[in-house]
Symmetry: C2
DNA sequence: TTTGATAATGATAATGATTATCATCATAAT
DNA sequence: ATTATGATGATAATCATTATCATTATCAAA
């Protein structure tokens, strides 16, 4: 897989912050990149444990924070009680359709909606830092 | 205050489900209606405790669930780690601008955004049950 | 009205996700 | 190689919320 770029970004962030590049961090990053997006810390931990059972859950949490801060991951809350993480390298902003039946998450972009949000912000003299639009319902497989 | 209608709704729900109308439930409803929206269970509990110190926190949680199921309250998550509740009687759908500095929450409605969401759902053969659009940033008082 | 069935309450223990603590280990600069 | 310091793994702590359970209150029936 082409995860060279991502590894470089992590190395750069680590160097800049005077942190250390550990075996665990590298392995957790590789595993994270090899998985689907929108995974929880627990799910990543289970996958990591398959090949590196000595890596602890706390380290997975710590590394996920590190990846978020370095721009490789993004934290998301979909209301199921746990934080989920998605890839955030070379990815543009998007929002989500969440199936309440099977948990499937579909991504979408809609520039017009984004633009209308600016309008709302202006109207309220509000300065937008970020936003999230989560649409809950039944995916095409679960409905009927 | 005109909370007669709300009391009736609670009574009806309770009768329908063969539950019981207790002093606690009535007092918690009154207090809830007398407060601003978007409050947490803990905040409501503190307010309730001022006049009825014997009412327990668990009962506040239980009553908030009851109010949600009966259509008098709506649960919301704004990412601060606790569930917040807002009035939901005779209120139409709306979304929120959340100030990350002072915590202020402003409501807005935007029919065009709602319509565009339908478009996205159709495009993905997705059937919408609900959605939330949370816009985070600085309110007019906090920016600059 | 009493009674009796059962739902509700308050105190508190339990839960589950996440974070903090700390002794030990690994990394990287010297 | 040495050494300073950040990282790790195990586990305790935290915090919001839920479950448990003995006791009490409600309400419909008698
Ligand atoms: Mn996504
Ligand atoms: Mn609101
Ligand atoms: Zn589905
Ligand atoms: Zn503000």
């Amino acid at each position: 897989m082409g995860m060279k770029k991502e590894k470089e970004i992590l190395q750069k962030y680590i160097a800049h912050k005077r942190l250390k590049l550990t075996r665990q961090r590298q392995f957790i990053l590789e595993t994270f990149l090899s998985m689907e997006s929108h995974i929880s810390a627990e799910e990543l931990y289970r996958e990591v444990s398959k090949r590196e059972p000595s890596i602890g859950l706390a380290t997975v949490y710590r590394t996920l924070h590190l990846l978020s801060k370095s721009g490789l991951a993004q934290e998301r809350q979909f209301g199921d009680g746990q934080t989920r993480y998605e890839h955030d390298f070379n990815r543009s902003h998007h929002d989500h359709l969440i199936c309440t039946e099977c948990g499937d998450i579909t991504e979408f972009e809609h520039p017009m909606i984004e633009k209308l949000q600016e309008e709302i912000a202006d109207r309220n003299k509000f300065s937008i830092y970020t936003h999230r639009l989560d649409i809950y319902g039944l995916c095409k497989r679960c409905k009927r």
